[in-house]
Symmetry: C2
Subunit: 291 residues, 2 copies
């Protein structure tokens, strides 16, 4: 199973980020390629399911982030810019994640998360002064108090509780009608992934669970989550949902789940772009580690 | 295996954090208990390996974070304060993690990460204005631009590459003499855990690896990491360390590793507080998932 937004093949070339002079040269490289994001929407070619890469001369004069080097050593960058100025199509990042090849979808995940972080972190959280981007976009520097700030990656656990051949799915209040997914929540300070899974199942559904088993992970650039998928064994089928978090929770069988994944069930399952799809599929197919 | 800093038994009671009035009442509860951290060092009882809990009347008038409820429903809080004022001992959090029971070590992990985050995030990263703590310490609110900010949890991959009965360990420049551990690095935006493991092994040691298998996770409150331990299969034993990140890297056998874990090897292994200890031990004992 290939998780959505994984599969970037650029070499992130961390050593270049530490070398401002080398980065400057990379930006001036005659073959350097630039991806625009228009209001955080990646700009795609007008005629095909691929990113529209432009030359430096076509790119606006905005700060760029360093994405990495391709196999030929050509540097790739991303920056904010208007799709109309380069003849491309600003495309919702979720749609792009589905339409693009895995290497290009991975680039969208990186570029969207980093550019969004810069948009919302222009000031020093330690002293309030303006900060400036450094390290090819992988940091911001405060010149007043010298604090360095680094992009956020927010770990989220997403999990299926199972018991006696049934798995637990739920609906958040904002979900489309009939749509159910795995439960999920942010990992908090001072807990392991296993503890976060047990806590979220308890908080959201009133379910006590144990034997947490890791299944897979996925970056989710809305804005910068790291989704960590797991399976857990519930103590009972009793439910007590927190209705602020969960509009409805229900236990479903493998048959119901398989139908939903095929698109002919009586509820809708997440699409293959989302790790929840693969969690459900792994459970239906018995492809998860034993407890 | 019980990871260091896991095992907190307080109910974090997320619903209370959303209710400012209930939190105020919880703070006034006659049985409420308060933990002081003195310069981020938890304050222990002078005569035993346990936390020194004090009453509200003994606690200074500093903002407190809500830790959770114990089994009797008694609310617990943490705040900055001087050990000397309450007759306790300010204790290094690593030492506390080793000396305290698992439930109390887990409390230290949560309290240290959250209080440190508040210390270093007094201003709005979006607009530069001062912010104020909300949600029992699980957020900060900007009253100028209305942005909400949440505590960081920074995922870190820590991994052993293995090939033909040998595992890869390394020394960072700041390590004590003779000390080797598993390689580690922060997960970056736009990558899965599996991709982060492969990238870090490549960047730090020049090793190509595949078949990444999850082993365990641990909160590490220095300042707010989530350590995610994994094993990976290396393509070859060839090494090309990045000497800025790694002073030395070497392949070790299970016998060498077992001796180091026992404390009688020709290098020193991480102590049981650290997930790296358990990663090495799991590898020595063959307790890791097959590739």
């Amino acid at each position: 199973m290939r998780m959505g937004f994984t599969g970037m093949t650029l070499d992130r070339a961390d050593h270049l980020r530490r070398d401002e002079q080398a980065l400057k040269l990379a930006r001036m490289h005659p073959s350097a390629r630039f991806l625009l994001l228009d209001g955080l929407k990646p700009v795609l070619a007008p005629d095909a399911d691929r990113l529209l890469w432009v030359r430096r001369s076509q790119a606006p004069d905005n700060p760029s982030i360093f994405l990495g080097l391709d196999e030929e050593g050509i540097p790739h960058f991303a920056l904010a810019g208007a799709a109309a100025d380069v003849g491309g199509i600003a495309t919702d990042a979720r749609a792009a994640g589905t339409r693009l090849s895995a290497p290009e979808a991975g680039i969208v995940a990186l570029a969207r998360s980093l550019l969004d972080w810069h948009d919302r972190h222009g000031f020093c959280a330690a002293c309030g002064a303006p900060t400036r981007p450094v390290k090819g976009g992988y940091g911001r520097q405060c010149d007043r108090c010298t604090a360095q700030h680094f992009p956020r990656v927010d770990p989220v656990v997403i999990m299926l509780a199972e018991k006696d051949g049934l798995a637990l799915v739920g609906r958040q209040p904002g979900f489309p009608a009939g749509f159910f997914s795995a439960l999920a929540g942010f990992v908090e300070p001072g807990e392991s992934l296993e503890e976060a899974v047990a806590r979220e199942l308890w908080e959201e559904a009133g379910v006590r669970a144990r034997s947490v088993r890791y299944v897979a992970s996925q970056p989710w650039p809305f804005p910068s989550s790291l989704m960590i998928g797991a399976l857990a064994t519930a103590d009972s089928h009793a439910l007590s949902p927190d209705f602020e978090e969960l509009e409805e929770a229900r236990w479903v069988s493998r048959e119901e789940c398989a139908a939903a994944l095929r698109g002919d069930g009586d509820w809708s399952a997440p699409p293959p772009l989302a790790i929840a799809h693969w969690l459900l599929r792994a459970w239906v197919e018995g492809q998860v580690p034993p407890s």
